[in-house]
Amino acid sequence: MSVNAHSLSQPKQNSGFFSWLWEWLSTVDHKKIAILYLFGGGLFFLIGGIEAMLIRIQLAVPENTFLVGHNYNEVITMHGTTMIFLAAMPFIFALMNAVIPLQIGARDVAFPFVNALGFWLFFMGGIILNLSWFLGGAPAGGWTAYAPLSSEFLGNGMDFYVLGLQVAGAGTLMGAINFLVTIVNMRAPGMTFMRLPLFTWTVFITAVLILFAFPALTVGLFLIFFDRLFDANFFNEANGGNSIIWEHIFWIFGHPEVYILILPAFGVISEVIATFSKKRLFGYSSMVFATILIGFLAFMVWVHHMFTVGLGPSANTIFAIATMAIAVPTGIKIFNWIFTLWGGQITFNTANLYAVGFIPTFVMGGVTGVMLAVPTADFQYHDSYFVVAHFHYVIVGGLIFGLFSGFYYWWPKMFGRHLNETLGKINFWLFFIGFHLTFFFQHFLGLMGMPRRYFTYLKGEGFDAFNMVSTIGAFLMFFAVIVMLINIAYSAVKGEKAKGDAWEQGRTLEWSIASPPPEYNFAQTPLVKGIDAFWKEKMDGKDKMTAAEPVGDIHMPSSSIVPFLMSISLTIASLGFIFSAHDGVRKPALFVAGAGVVLFFLCMLARSIKDDPGFHIHKEEVIETEKGVR
């Protein structure tokens, strides 16, 4: 794929499958990690999507017996958990890894080793979670895992939930710290904060939210873990525990989580719309301000998920007002996008179709969010299909549209080949229409009294027609995703080769280098002179960035298998803990768990003792590589 710069400085490994595998298992290159995240997340997205299809098949007709009771609960739990933690989050990390270092003019991320570790932890966390299907049943407490159902009443599946998320969450946290430091410390000369591309800004704030939200989840999961495995009493009312504690902890994490998801999508939309309108982003500074404000407010509103818990009208209204306030900065963004389009020269390719489709769809989900923020009205909406409709509008119609837009937009940069536009447009329209068919009518189902997480509804409750429509819509989405898979395969074989400035109107730094970028990204660190640095240079009649340094040797980190080994050891530890819940094998299982933990720390020690000197790509090699580019 990328030009291989190893040849001189690193001993060449035997070619063949194993060296290929080794390369991917041990890579610390952010561009390769991006691809790993993309395919890892993609795998789980397909699994989560299949689970969604199972849900829709069960609900297509009343009193269906396709998936009943506990099995249905397993499927919705795994659908929600998989989609949020194992599909959406890694997709976001895929784009972060692929784009952020390039957008800020950096050769790498701050901690390449940690970056790889983050990926492998996420991936193994996902594996742990999904192993539950084969080892005694999946978690069935909903993705919110309310105690005491999750802590006392459900079986082994919940242990997979707890440990899978714990491992994946640790990976996410590391990734966030890595990108925070990268953005603060590794910007090219002249790339001030107020010149950062908006995607980088949104990722920065997302990483901040991760940093402060995930530790709460970590604690919450530990509490459930201790309740389940060591008979602690956090949620055990008989010994003085309190199940509402879990709800608070979960949502103190959970609400910021939904903005963690949507902010990068906002960033993608900002980039794509500006690029394909051939205009700079309207109101850049207010966009930045709005992003920060959303990030701040994200921590002040979580109780809107708990209006019906009975916290009393004072708490409810305070949090209601705070929730409504988020509509204001979000609105600023919406209108700024519309006015970026305004007066532009808009190209409608697939990337931009998704971006443009995002706007009305997300607003639709956003305004139902504001409706939900009215506490006494939420007493009616809560845990009904109205909520399901709301969050799929913001998540699928917002986040997934944004991510797909980003994939179509940056695919050429990541892989050096374009995706096919015709297939892309079929994909978009199928997905767009299917999406609205699936979820629009769910608003009415909710208002008509259909609660969520119901594995069935009765004949004569009047829910039949809308549910059927919804299922049909889901099938359209299913076909849309198949088309997308075909497109990816097609592109890999026959896709049009991409130029460095793949869309010919790229504005930011990533378009100033080859597609895919060489291992070292920038032969010379660019000098940034303003917002939309590359566009600026092009307007000045140049086709390359002004360099901030002469060509020289480039220092690179060496690859390492240790991150992979570390996540394997945590997987072993997790499985040990999970099986320690079975009476017969408690002792040996705990022993395995301990061994896993020890192994993990040994890996850490090894890493600490052996400094990574890295290696250099020599000047001549760089010049040679760059020649082939244009």
Binding site: I244, I346, T368, P375, Y381, D383, L458
Partner: protein, 340 residues
């Protein structure tokens, strides 16, 4: 408050739109409210919907105009649009207008939220208090003032304020009667409350709205609103208990019941408290909260409750009792009426 009442006049428009798409079934839908709380909630829902439709219209009009007017036209490929940085006035405009809209929404939000949470009412004739306990997967209703215990069917008088106090014996459940009022959670070890009333006599569907296990979806109950007089009569009858069985089969059933079922179920005062009280079983609307109320379903239930409600706490009696015995049990249970 007056202001938003005024704008309610515009609602026929939206009401029509909603009607076209179907409001759902009477007695089940939040859009056909039958009690004070549900009505005010529906008003508030529609009022907020109005604001949201306004926002949507503005966004969609601007958006559609922009993407049609400014799409790339043939022959202008080299055109480079003006690189506008922003516009302070416009940006201020779309900061302030949403704030105003939200303030308009916040006012009724606050007042109604407080009003609907106000369950601290003086004891009196006009207030009925019910203690509700959620169990996996059934509802227990206790009237502390009337000293009655029942299950699955909540009987209330029309026109009176009913204060519901909730708790749970196991996991978190939520009590929801869409046509009468919004929901509130039943938390183990803690008490929450809500109030509701019903304008009209009739049966309203209630359901559990918090994931509580395998049969969360089947944790239905009924709210039967009757006239105040009827309610008084009913509560007196309930205290007297069901009339004794008369037929031979039912008497036989009573015996079987005593031997097999009393450890969990109570009839009248006597019996276990871990399962629904069956004193007025024959007067119920449904079996197990949602199945049609007939002997066939009852027998199926006794034979294998888990088949009807996955994960139900009641054991299967398929192998314990013969068909004859189950027939007798059914006769007995169908004789359990407090109606005179």
């Amino acid at each position: 408050m007056k202001k938003w009442r005024l704008s309610l006049r515009l609602f026929p428009l939206f009401a029509i739109a909603l009607l076209l798409s179907g409001c759902g079934k009477e007695g089940l839908s939040t859009l056909i409210p039958m009690g004070t709380v549900a009505k005010e909630q529906a008003d508030l829902m529609l009022f907020s919907l109005l604001i949201m439709v306004l926002v949507m219209v503005v966004v969609i009009v601007l958006f559609t105009y922009a993407i049609i007017k400014f799409r790339k036209k043939r022959g202008q490929e080299d055109f480079i649009p003006k690189q506008v940085e922003g516009n302070a006035k416009l940006e201020l405009l779309w900061t302030i207008i949403p704030i105003i809209l939200l303030i308009i929404l916040a006012v009724p939000t606050i007042s109604k939220t407080f009003a609907h949470s106000d369950t601290h009412v003086a004891k009196g004739d006009d207030v009925i208090k019910v203690k509700v306990t959620g169990h996996q997967y059934w509802w227990e209703f206790e009237y502390p003032d009337q000293k009655i215990k029942t299950a699955q069917d909540l009987v209330i008088p029309t026109g009176k304020k009913v204060v519901v106090e909730l708790t749970s014996k196991d996991v978190i459940h939520a009590f929801w009667v869409p046509a009468l009022a919004g929901k509130i959670d039943a938390n183990p070890g803690q008490t929450t409350s809500l109030w509701l009333d019903a304008d009209k006599e009739g049966t309203y569907k209630g359901r559990c709205a918090e994931l509580c296990g395998s049969s969360h979806a089947l944790m239905y109950f009924n709210v039967k609103a009757v006239s105040p007089d009827e309610f008084k009569q009913w509560s007196k009858d309930m205290k007297d208990g069901p009339s004794a069985p008369t037929t031979a089969s039912a008497k036989k059933g009573e015996q079987i019941f005593k031997n097999n079922c009393m450890s969990c179920h109570a009839v009248g005062e006597k019996g276990g408290q871990t399962a629904p009280n069956l004193s007025n079983f024959a007067d119920r609307e449904n079996i197990a909260g949602f199945k049609e109320h007939n002997k066939k379903n009852l027998k199926a239930w006794i034979k294998n409750p888990g088949k009807i409600k996955p994960g139900a706490e009641m054991p299967s009696f398929e192998d314990e009792l013969s068909d004859d015995q189950i027939n007798a049990l059914a006769d007995y249970l169908f004789s359990l009426s407090v109606k005179k």
